[in-house]
């Protein structure tokens, strides 16, 4: 259970090696944490993440096997997690950036990105929603992206998956309104992670830790959507209304 000061006791991270998700776990008040489940494909990275959280004094960190694309297994997987005890916060943080040009040349690659980022998220998100609904409390945090706000030439395939995921998260939040279960859609901009390594930084770039702080604050306030960093809300509002002939001419 969350306590009266909004501190959760049990966290499930879907995409357990996500730097942004792990930074969010670190930003949560750790005194009350009793269970942190990192769900990801088995990897050294996952083991290292579990070890790092434990070394940081975060209690109850474990790794479990999870594949975003294996949608037929999601129901059993989510049940096994929730059957062992209530989960207060679920961070849905898996996703791949892909390689736009390669995907344009071989659509199978684009399907992979779409299956992971969108189909996999819809599948596991709905299974999570059912369990949150049954337990009558808890928040599903969906990591969307400003890339979903408006499709750009350079990454519209990735962007379209995030646009779909974002719309899904908003609708699911509305469906769950008043049930004690909630959805928080987080729209980060350019975050300095392994995924963006080597890319030229966009304005308002942030570190994962900054996103984590923003997410925790939004959880406490019961927000439904949040940009990270906050001022991106204004930037994206401007970009979304820009006429296409001008938008096309923007760099990248």
């Amino acid at each position: 259970m969350n306590d009266a000061l909004g501190e959760p006791q049990a966290i499930l991270v879907l995409g357990g090696t996500s730097e942004i998700a792990l930074a969010t776990v670190r930003a949560l008040p750790r005194q009350r944490l009793r269970r942190v489940v990192l769900a990801a494909r088995p990897s050294e990275g996952r083991d290292a993440a579990v070890a790092a959280l434990s070394a940081d004094g975060i209690a109850g960190a474990t790794g479990v096997d999870f594949q975003a694309q294996a949608t037929s297994e999601h129901g059993v997987f989510i049940d096994s997690i929730f059957d062992a005890g209530d989960i207060d916060v679920i961070l849905l943080a898996f996703g791949v950036l892909g390689d736009q040009l390669a995907e344009e040349a071989s659509p199978d690659l684009a399907v992979e990105v779409a299956t992971t980022n969108y189909t996999g998220a819809v599948s596991v998100g709905l299974h999570v929603a059912q369990r949150l609904r049954q337990q009558g409390h808890g928040t599903l945090v969906i990591f969307s992206s400003v890339a979903g706000d408006r499709a750009r030439r350079s990454n519209y395939i990735y962007g379209s998956t995030k646009a779909g995921l974002d719309a899904f998260g908003q609708g699911l939040g509305d469906a769950l309104h008043g049930t004690g279960a909630r959805v928080l859609v987080v729209r980060p901009g350019f975050v300095r992670t392994k995924m963006t390594e080597g890319m030229s930084e966009a304005p308002l770039s942030v570190d994962p830790a900054a996103v984590g702080e923003i997410v925790v604050k939004a959880l406490r306030k019961g927000r439904e959507t949040v940009y990270a960093p906050g001022p991106l809300r204004l930037v994206m509002a401007g970009l979304k209304t820009l006429p296409r002939p001008i938008f096309r001419k923007l760099p990248r």
């Binding site: 259970m1 969350n2 306590d3 009266a4 000061l5 909004g6 501190e7 006791q9 008040p29 005194q31 009350r32 009793r34 005890g85 209530d86 929603a129 059912q130 609904r133 049954q134 337990q135 009558g136 409390h137 699911l172 469906a175 769950l176 309104h177 008043g178 049930t179 004690g180 279960a181």
Partner: protein, 454 residues
């Protein structure tokens, strides 16, 4: 199992009186023991819990995804004046019991600061009042109670025979041993519905505490209000006892046993956040302190004015705004009396605005393993949940309270850790063993029980 995601009829978001951490439950109204038994037998995977009038501050009377039983219709009251014994349905409120009993010259053995609690709730949380140093808790005056256990079977429990351990496990058991459906308890004979009150204003905390220790044996009822804004810890001590007929004026004697308190006002549900701030709380505390006489004896007050001043303001919990609030109440032995000052200082250091801070002395503990009161000092302070730094300060105070051999009151708690709870209620294991006899399938549960691994 397919479940509609949107909220369905009969489901309610429930919170405690502090209005924090809501969870959704299926609220089931029961009007007979048979209906309670059926609800228990038909409990789903998330279990079942009885909720009274929702005055527990934290998450004791809510259970996400569970069936939450409303027994307010089971509110019958019988009074045997020869035996000095009252019997009431679990859903009867202390308010309705006083309305029935006071005109007949009887008073409840113990009342907390509100009448708006049920008998079932009073026993489950083993409430205390201003007379704890003399009379103990409410549970100490219960002669018998009926309980629908976790198997749906009806049990009659009392403190004296072979059911004694199950009785005391249920008293203070936070509703986790079963559903109390009715109880019989001793009443106090009274000549009037008035209280004869002495008031004393004390200029600092030492004076408040010294005065209370000196008054321990003199009064049945004693409580002190503390000005948390002033660094001195000044306060106002009110003490009293039931007024005798000869203490009333001629005019008052005409209505000597009348009891019909009315709610004066209701706080609207649109209080903006931040209404309670340093300035408003400072002003309130100053006025409250000034309003009290320096020293006054023999003032005749009504039961409502003396015991339940806040019941005059309906929904006063809304004053804290949408962010909600919590009440921090601990008890420490006399040997750790300095913790009262430490707690006041620490709360003031983060500018936690509190206008309802109450200090009391407790007498000895009763046999119930999870009953809160034990001999010593108890301080209760209301604090808005959003005060920055509150969590860290309360965690630090928890440590000190535990080190001193004290503990927190489960009816008020909404944030202590499972470790703190297990450490400060050392009889938890004994309690759980008997609870498992009464509810072997573990179907009685609550958000508080999940949070604290009870």
């Amino acid at each position: 199992m397919t479940q509609e995601l949107s909220r369905q009829e009969g489901e309610e978001l429930l919170t405690g009186w502090g209005r924090t951490v809501p969870s959704l439950a299926q609220v089931v109204k029961c009007s007979s023991t048979e209906e309670v038994q059926a609800a228990v037998l038909g409990a789903g995977p998330r279990g079942v819990l009885v909720r009274g009038l929702g005055r527990s501050y934290g998450d004791a009377a809510q259970s996400g995804g569970a069936k939450v039983l409303d027994l307010q219709a089971m509110n019958g009251i019988q009074y045997d004046s020869d035996a000095g014994l009252a019997t009431a349905g679990a859903g009867a409120s202390l308010d309705s019991i006083m309305r029935a009993l006071v005109p007949q010259g009887a008073f409840v053995p113990v009342t907390p600061g509100t009448r708006m609690i049920t008998i079932g709730g009073a026993i489950s949380t083993d409430v205390h009042g201003k007379n704890h140093h003399v009379d103990g808790t409410f549970g100490a005056h219960v002669r018998q109670l009926t309980l629908v256990d976790g198997n749906g079977e009806l049990r009659e429990l009392n403190p004296d025979d072979s059911t004694g351990s199950q009785f005391w496990t249920t008293v203070g058991g936070m509703g986790l041993t079963g559903a109390i459906t009715s109880a019989s308890f001793d009443v106090i004979p009274v000549e009037t519905s008035r209280i004869c009150v002495d008031t004393e204003r004390a200029k600092d905390l030492d004076e408040v505490m010294a005065h209370m220790v000196a008054g321990d044996s003199k009064y049945r009822y004693t409580v002190a209000w503390i000005d948390t804004v002033s660094a001195s810890g000044r306060g106002v001590i009110t003490s009293g006892d039931h007024a005798r007929l000869d203490q009333l004026s001629v005019k008052q004697r005409a209505t000597a046993l009348e009891f019909d308190p009315k709610a004066l006002a209701s706080v609207p549900n649109i209080v903006p956040p931040g209404l309670l701030n340093k300035l408003t709380v400072r002003a309130f505390n100053e006025a409250w302190y000034r309003k009290a006489p320096g020293h006054r004896t023999g003032e005749i007050q009504s039961i409502g004015a003396f015991f339940h001043p806040l019941d005059g303001v309906q929904n006063w919990n809304r004053v804290y705004g949408p962010g909600g609030f919590l009440q921090y109440q601990f008890v420490v032995p006399d040997s750790a009396s300095q913790l009262v000052r430490v707690a006041l200082d620490r709360l003031r250091s983060i500018s936690a605005p509190s206008f309802l801070t109450v200090l009391k002395r407790f007498g000895e503990a009763n046999p119930a393993p999870l009953s809160f009161p034990q001999a010593g000092w108890t301080l209760a302070a209301d604090v808005p949940a959003g005060v920055p730094g509150l969590g860290a300060v309360l965690d630090e105070l928890d440590e000190r309270v535990a080190d001193a051999g004290g503990r927190l009151y489960l009816a008020k708690d909404s944030r202590q850790s499972p470790q703190m709870f297990a450490r400060t209620y050392p009889r938890l294991g004994e309690w759980q063993k008997t609870r498992d006899e009464l509810d072997p399938r573990g179907i009685f549960t609550s958000d508080l029980a999940r949070r604290l691994s009870i």
